[in-house]
């Protein structure tokens, strides 16, 4: 079934749904920027940029609350059904995932500050760079699939999470090797591990967003490995 959110008899309803979606996507833009900045701050030992990420974090929290409030108002005023209801539900869920991506970006920014302070030669940055690129692409593609109601692209993006998880595990093994080789590096490598962990989580959230694309378009809840629910 095609998705049309601009054909309600009530024009106000069209506008409410449209602006709800736009708000969430703008939040998505902000969060994507945060991830990019946090990774950038880490790579370039730029603690100023890292501080900026921590400040913008508050704005993201505010976005989530606004999206929630507007979604609640739509439910109260319009009692949305079918695809409208799925739109509202998916926006609420995605906003929550985006907020958590924002939290992970902040954690990466904090690690950037900690690692900059230590000032020793970076190890594990190649792995960080690699996984960061993969999850940033996932996040972009997931939001893009949502704007285009593109289930196929969402499923493709969703599948990329497996590779990210594998890369994460192998990076963790490598970091353990470093720590065994040089116990003095443990505290610094732990920071790298936390960063990797945060990035891996961002991949999970991008995956959740993809699942909401499927929910919105197909009405199928495929979360927690229930892809069989897709018609």
């Amino acid at each position: 079934m095609e998705m049309h959110f601009d054909q309600h008899i009530s024009r106000q309803f069209n506008e409410d749904l449209e602006s709800l979606k736009t708000e969430m996507l703008e939040m998505g833009g902000l969060v994507t920027r945060q991830v990019a900045d946090a990774v950038e701050a880490l790579a370039n030992a730029d603690s100023e940029l890292a501080e900026k990420v921590l400040q913008v974090e508050e704005e993201i929290d505010r976005c989530e609350m606004e999206v929630d409030e507007h979604a609640t108002l739509i439910i109260a005023k319009r009692q949305p059904a079918a695809s409208d209801l799925r739109m509202v539900m998916s926006v609420i869920r995605i906003a929550r995932d985006l907020e958590r991506v924002g939290d992970e970006a902040s954690k990466v920014a904090k690690m950037a500050i900690a690692l900059t302070d230590e000032g020793t030669a970076p190890r594990g940055y190649t792995e960080i760079r690699h996984i960061a690129n993969a999850v940033r692409k996932m996040l972009n593609d997931a939001l893009d699939a949502y704007t285009r109601f593109d289930v196929k692209s969402a499923m493709e993006t969703l599948a990329e999470d497996e590779q990210v998880d594998m890369d994460y595990r192998s990076a963790v093994r490598e970091m353990i090797t470093y720590m065994m080789e040089d116990p003095r590096s443990i505290s610094r490598v732990m920071n790298v591990l936390w960063t990797l962990r945060s990035l891996e989580r961002i991949g999970d959230h991008a995956k959740n967003i993809c699942e909401q694309v499927v929910y919105l378009v197909k009405g199928a809840d495929i979360r927690h490995g229930n892809e069989k629910n897709m018609r």
Binding site: D6, H8, F13, N14, K21, A36, Q79, A81, A82, R148
Partner: protein, 300 residues
């Protein structure tokens, strides 16, 4: 490096259409109107295993005009089936076939197979009076008899010979009023006229009157459309309780009501049964675009 591409132009492809819509009157946009012949068959699951009422290939005509086109539907035992659809879609006409209320309309012709527990509703030997006792009806506007509350409920059992002695009648009246959730409000004024009650109370009196004759099926034609939200909530609560003992078909214009009270929902459009599904499915993920358009308030 991926740059963020979710700018307004790309993120919101629907925006252009919305702006265009604002410039044109809705009627111009409304080109998606379907003709009856364009709706092929019924999607979803119109049949069920334990059918109390079974309708197959039902056609209804008012003179030359065909009001119902080839509708097949089962209504399961102890189930609430909601019938929804825009005005003039045939849902009330279809409901009225189930206890032959259409017989009273001149020029109305019903074709097809309609059975209640396997017995033909339109059989030549069927007496409509006991049929309508088995298949009771509650109407849009509460219509108590201009009699006392007691007599409103006792009238049916008396004429159907269900109860005749005063003690028996007292029991039937009390039971029916209790099941309709009205007893506590009226027990001290049973001799007062039914028309003196509030709208919600009158409707519950009509439900008590309908259940006093031990029906098996209750048909409700927009039973809450003249009631306030509190009275409506009471009736909806009642419908859920009545389901234990009766099979219920309800026509309603309130989508939320259909979603709240029914287990299955049937969507009618231009005399055709477009979709029947579990109520949950209809309201979260309808299978037919016309159902989707109707329940979400879109042009369709």
């Amino acid at each position: 490096m991926n740059t963020m591409t979710l700018n307004a132009g790309e993120a919101v492809p629907a925006e252009n259409k919305a702006t265009k819509l604002a410039a044109e009157p809705p009627s111009v946009k409304n080109q998606a109107v379907k003709k009856p012949e364009e709706i092929a068959g019924t999607v979803g699951s119109p049949f069920c295993d334990e059918a109390k009422l079974r309708m197959r290939n039902v056609n209804v005509f008012y003179g030359e005009t065909q009001a119902i086109h080839d509708v097949s539907l089962d209504i399961g035992r102890n189930q609430v089936v909601a019938m929804i659809g825009p005005s003039g879609c045939g849902k009330s006409t279809f409901l009225r076939c189930l206890n032959r209320m259409n017989d009273t309309i001149e020029g109305c012709r019903v074709e097809g197979e309609l059975t209640l527990d396997g017995e033909a509703i339109y059989g030549s030997k069927v007496d409509v009076v006991p049929l309508r006792a088995r298949v009771g009806m509650v109407f849009q506007k509460p219509n108590p008899f201009p009699k006392s509350i007691y007599d409103n409920v006792a009238y049916g059992p008396k004429i159907h010979g269900i109860a005749s002695r005063r003690a028996e009648l007292d029991e039937v009246v009390e039971n029916s009023l209790r099941r309709a959730g009205l007893w506590n409000e009226v027990k001290d004024r049973l001799d007062k006229p039914g028309t003196g009650l509030s709208g919600g109370q009158q409707q519950r009196l009509c439900i008590a009157r309908a259940i006093a004759v031990n029906p098996e099926v209750i048909l409700m034609d927009e039973p809450c459309s003249a009631l306030d939200p509190i009275a409506t909530a009471r009736i909806e609560e009642l419908i859920d309780e009545l389901r234990e003992n009766y099979t219920i078909a309800i026509v309603t214009h309130s989508m939320q009501q259909a979603a709240r009270v029914s287990q299955r929902t049937a969507y009618f459009h231009l005399g055709k049964l477009v979709e029947v599904n579990d109520t949950e499915t209809v309201f979260t993920n309808p299978q037919h675009e016309l159902t989707e358009a109707y329940i979400t308030g879109r042009f369709g």
